[in-house]
Subunit: 290 residues, 2 copies
């Protein structure tokens, strides 16, 4: 699966290079900050999900390259803003200083704004059917206040943990982390013509996958090193953040991640060969150690 | 003109209230911060331009209410992020504490992100023709790195003023301030079917208007009071910002604002009655003292 991930990442990186070279018209140093934040690593999980959504619907990656680009720009902006001193105050990301450490807070803030806005510029340039508009609207929705931003809102305001139970934590993970995975997979599949039943199955798959992925992140934050992960570790504990590991212990976290992986797979197993890569990716991500 | 502005603001405020009550689904306190930032004053200049764009093209305000909402959400997010400590560090806006002073920086940052994202959610909900998609794409473009964000990038990186001349300053104003005025007017007119020649004339009109408006802002920052403006004054001087007044003196600023007002009017005078309100608004804004 690692090789397959590499192939899709290569496809995405070509799209990204072309975007940074020829499409993104932006004054420096903000442009440099965008390029810095968008390059130099990352599994490109969200673009891959978008591509696999297209393949699930019988089309190819090329059909959805702008949807993949838009989702990854949104992911990138969310990392820049999340790392800022007023948020998580992280200094290391993908083995490099975070964007505000490298370029200053003002440039990092604007770079994030530029990436979010640019994602929608890309989408408006690419949509040319009602299917495309629906696919793009899903990206906006799952990136927004009922999706990723909504999860971030819950994350920053529930740190005291009062009245915070497993349901609330899983709901926050579902918005914060699953949100963009759903956006990626769904936009790829919907713009390529999947039907309503498939839509629902893909949403549920990506939702369970996102929660399992986030719990795995929590586990790695406790068990891995900065060298392996390329980002600050132990920061969840430091900032007294509510995580699955902190609230329910390591054993339960491992169990829950496996349970949600199985639930994810169960949503799409019926599609047989069409779902093979998605299922492989799911198992790989929860078993990862980086 | 003041009464007419009030009427259009009333139309917009009804749309905004409905949005805040029934459409914006967002966890508190970020939702409260969005409501705080979006209500309690403002001329609603951008929504009015959007409405006047629709009327210019022979349609009514109701046709473009979501375009007006999207542009004003983008304006609102830009003010929140601009006021943050790492940017202008302003504490007063429309006579109230700025959003980060009231809610803290993390909530203000997320509220701004939520508003920008929500603007595009609103647009994707409303577009249902190729004219609409084009109109929405103009909003994304003029709000982005070749428009408003591009102007902000220039603004934060050219503070030392080296090699900074009138052309560079006016280009920054054209992006930073005219950008969203163009987005507002153009989206209203284009979604209601104006033709290409009219598009160009409206872009040029709003571009000159925006620069004249920004120079008037510079003048008021030097001559007016916090009580009248409802925001920090003298902050341009304090932060050693390059403004037209600081670079070329008060007399030249007054002359330039008048010159650009005349240029704006000249772009659309040929449309006679169809352009009357736009021309009236233009004269009013440059003559304002608040």
């Amino acid at each position: 699966m690692k090789e397959i991930i590499g192939v899709y990442a290569g496809i995405f990186n070509a799209t990204l290079d072309e975007y940074l070279m020829h499409r993104l018209d932006c004054p420096s140093p903000v442009k440099d900050a965008v390029a810095y934040a968008m390059t130099g690593g990352g599994k490109r999980l969200r673009p891959m999900l978008c591509y696999l959504g297209a393949e699930f619907a019988g089309k190819s990656c090329e059909e959805v390259s702008d949807f993949a680009l838009a989702v990854e720009l949104i992911h990138g902006y969310s990392l820049i803003h999340d790392d800022l001193p007023c948020m998580d105050n992280d200094t290391l990301r993908r083995g490099k200083p975070t964007t505000h450490v490298k370029f200053g807070e003002a440039v990092a803030l604007l770079a994030g704004d530029a990436m979010l806005n640019s994602a929608f510029e890309v989408l408006f340039e690419t949509v040319n059917s009602s299917k495309d508009v629906l696919a793009a609207s899903y990206i906006a929705k799952y990136a927004g206040t009922t999706g990723m931003i909504g999860g971030q809102c819950m994350d920053i305001t529930d740190n005291n943990g009062e009245g915070y139970d497993e349901t609330a934590l899983l709901s926050m993970y579902s918005k914060k982390t699953s949100g963009l995975l759903i956006a990626a997979l769904l936009s790829g599949a919907v713009s390529c013509g999947c039907n309503k039943e498939e839509e629902v199955d893909l949403i549920n798959f990506a939702d369970y996958l996102g929660v399992a992925y986030q719990i795995t992140d929590d586990i790695l934050d406790c068990t891995s090193t900065e060298e392996v992960l390329g980002k600050n570790v132990g920061s969840d504990e430091k900032s007294d953040k509510k995580t699955y590991v902190a609230m329910f212990g390591m054993d339960n976290a491992v169990k829950k991640a496996k349970d949600y992986t199985q639930r994810a797979v169960a949503c799409i197993a019926k599609y047989g060969e069409r779902a093979e890569k998605l299922i492989g990716l799911c198992h790989y991500l929860v078993g990862r150690n980086y």
